[in-house]
């Protein structure tokens, strides 16, 4: 079997060292549902298809990040990668917007 070091981080079938499954329920938060909805809308509008989103996550998220980031964190990274790649967002535009919104809320 291909050892993990030669695999893509998302290719988890049979990945060794997995422990017990955490079965606690986590109702998605408002913003998680909103990110999900935005992703679905991008698909429905033909802006980004599912495989582009998957490919973006596979390309841009390291193994360490993949194992530590939360699910919707990964989606947001993927969404940003795809939208920058398509020229809909500029490089760094999301980060500048975050800064602008923080300044707005503390101003």
């Amino acid at each position: 079997m291909t050892p993990p070091e030669n695999r893509r981080p998302n290719d988890r079938g049979g990945w060794p060292g997995a422990g017990p499954i955490d079965r606690s329920e986590h109702e998605p938060t408002f913003w998680e549902r909103r990110v999900d909805a935005m992703q679905q809308l991008l698909g429905r509008k033909g802006i980004a298809v599912t495989d582009e989103n998957r490919a973006a996550r596979e390309r841009t998220i390291s193994l360490q990040d993949y194992e530590q980031m939360r699910y919707y964190d990964r989606w947001l990274i993927g969404m940003q990668t795809v939208l920058v790649g398509k020229g809909i967002l500029a490089e760094g535009e999301l980060e500048r917007k975050v800064a602008e919104m923080e300044a707005r809320s503390s101003g």
């Binding site: 499954i21 955490d22 079965r23 935005m38 919707y72």
Partner: protein, 223 residues
């Protein structure tokens, strides 16, 4: 079941996390750039809320009481869903896998989190977890035991890895002693986990707690 909200609750944004800040910025940017409108996002969130395991349970309950519907469901799942006014999504295709005394099915997406969302809503966290994705294919019986489900040696455990455009719904076995229940009452016995294959349907009230149809199967009641 939470309702869709147009605006976040105050407690959601009291101390926004980094994720919430980035998500909020993404939302504002894409609205500014007219990629979509706030209304469209709200409607999409409402659509997502309307999709929950009760839909899948309704399909299962009907399959239990109506053998002709069950046959149509197994043959052409999306056409059968349309009979019930349930729309599937474009771009993926539904398959229904039937549990029998000989075969117990379980579903996973080892590569990401593919899930039959039009029937079950959003997947539970455990389904998306790295541990489930790793172990359900390699040691399914150990995983099912964690969920309280033990299956006999003579039952085939069949795991389906949704790697492409197919999405899988497990049709759990009808519990014994459920002959007198109405369709809605039967639907109450069909948990989300039973439609993923991590559980069986709940026993009928007053029916045997041991499922007669799996040899050596024991079931813990799960919600």
């Amino acid at each position: 079941m939470s309702e869709a909200h147009e605006h976040p609750h105050p407690e959601d944004t009291a101390v926004p996390t980094d994720f919430e800040k980035r998500a909020g910025a993404m939302f504002e940017l894409l609205i500014q750039k007219r990629v979509f409108t706030a209304d469209e996002v709200r409607q999409q969130m409402e659509l997502m809320e309307s999709r929950n395991p009760a839909l899948g349970a309704k399909v299962v309950a009907k399959a239990w009481v109506d053998p002709a519907f069950k046959a149509r469901l197994l043959e052409d799942p999306q056409a059968a869903l349309e009979e019930l006014g349930i729309a599937w999504d474009k771009g993926t295709q539904l398959a229904v896998v039937e549990n029998t005394p000989e075969v117990h099915n379980a579903v996973v997406c080892t590569l990401c989190s593919c899930y039959p969302r039009p029937l079950l809503g959003v997947p539970p966290s455990w389904y998306k977890s790295l541990a489930y994705r790793s172990r359900i294919v390699a040691e399914p019986r150990d995983v099912l035991l964690e969920f309280g489900l033990r299956l006999g040696e003579d039952v085939e455990v069949r795991v389906h890895d949704s790697t492409a455009d197919m999405r899988y719904l497990v049709l759990p076995m009808r519990p014994s002693g459920a002959e007198r229940l109405t369709e809605p009452e039967l639907a109450e016995l069909v948990s989300r986990d039973s439609m993923i294959g991590a559980a069986q349907a709940a026993p009928a009230p007053g029916g045997p707690t041991r499922t007669a149809s799996y040899a050596d199967a024991s079931v813990e009641r799960h919600n």
